[in-house]
């Protein structure tokens, strides 16, 4: 009604439009600020909650890992891995020559010890037989 008053009307209309614009601006600005504040609070809250919880224990308690593992498509994972490169890397890490050398060495040593022990025993057996044949006192050697 007041806008219809001459002279005064246009002025008032302009004032009202300015005010409403300012109001809109203020509302959107404060809403943004409020949103940001809320987000910050929420993030802090979640972090706090997570800090308080033992997630591992929770997962162990609530999640059936076996079922998940059963569903895993391991073939797809394996297909994505370059197995040959991986095997090469593994073989590089294992000192195969050293292992072979070691086992061969210990085997040779074992055989040598065995041969020597057996030979010594055979010597004793022969000596015993000869001593008996000659009627020797076997302790007197």
């Amino acid at each position: 009604v007041a806008e219809k008053v001459p002279v005064f009307g246009p002025l008032m209309r302009r004032g009202v439009v300015g005010l409403s614009e300012r109001g809109d601006k203020w509302v959107t600005q404060s809403a943004d600020q409020f949103k940001a504040l809320l987000a910050a609070v929420a993030v802090g809250l979640v972090a706090l909650v997570l800090d308080e919880m033992d997630l591992n224990a929770l997962v162990r308690e609530r999640v059936d890992i076996d079922v998940l593992a059963a569903d895993l498509d391991i073939d797809a994972v394996i297909n994505r891995v370059d197995l040959i490169t991986l095997a090469d890397k593994v073989i590089e890490g294992v000192d195969l020559p050293a292992i072979i050398r070691e086992s061969t060495n210990s085997m040779t040593a074992e055989v040598m010890t065995d041969v020597r022990t057996q030979g010594e025993r055979a010597d004793d057996v022969v000596a015993g037989i000869v001593d008996r044949m000659l009627g020797r006192d076997r302790d007197n050697r």
Binding site: M112, T113, V115, R116, G119, E120, A122, D123, D124, V126, A127, G128, V130, L134, R136, R138, D139, N140, R141
Partner: protein
């Protein structure tokens, strides 16, 4: 009796010594064949056209074999006391008191062993397990101490 007394140097018997002698014989024969092969190769290099596999002169090869064997035995005994066969069977030749055989004794013992290998058999009947060569040169053949 013969129960093991680890710290005492025990004289070796006929079986180990006999086997060691056989191994040494094989080693000497291998050396001989290597020498023969080398001779053939040298001939081939110097006269490839007129090459024929050299025939073996019995006397010559016997003499060479004798020298190779004596050299091999003397060297092994004086340097380490053990030939290849002795190492395999865990034996060692030592002097009467010292742990090494002197060069002269080693040489003479080697000659006698090559000429009269049958002397080894005396080990069987000798109380102290000496071969004829051991008696003459006052050497002993003992077991290597076991690395235990």
């Amino acid at each position: 009796v013969t129960s093991s007394e680890p710290d005492v140097e025990r004289a070796a018997g006929i079986i180990t010594r006999g086997l060691a002698a056989v191994i040494d014989l094989v080693v000497v024969l291998l050396i001989m064949s290597a020498l023969y092969g080398g001779l053939v190769l040298v001939r081939l290099v110097y006269s490839p056209a007129a090459f024929s596999v050299p025939s073996l002169n019995a006397v010559f090869s016997t003499v060479v074999t004798f020298f190779v064997a004596v050299l091999y035995l003397t060297g092994c005994w004086t340097v380490s006391g053990s030939t290849a066969g002795a190492v395999t069977m865990g034996l060692r030749v030592v002097g009467r008191r010292s742990q090494r055989v002197s060069l002269l004794v080693g040489l003479l013992r080697a000659i006698c062993c090559v000429l009269l290998p049958i002397g080894l058999l005396w080990v069987v009947v000798d109380r102290r397990r000496r071969s004829l060569q051991d008696i003459v040169f006052r050497t002993r053949v003992i077991y290597l101490k076991r690395a235990r």
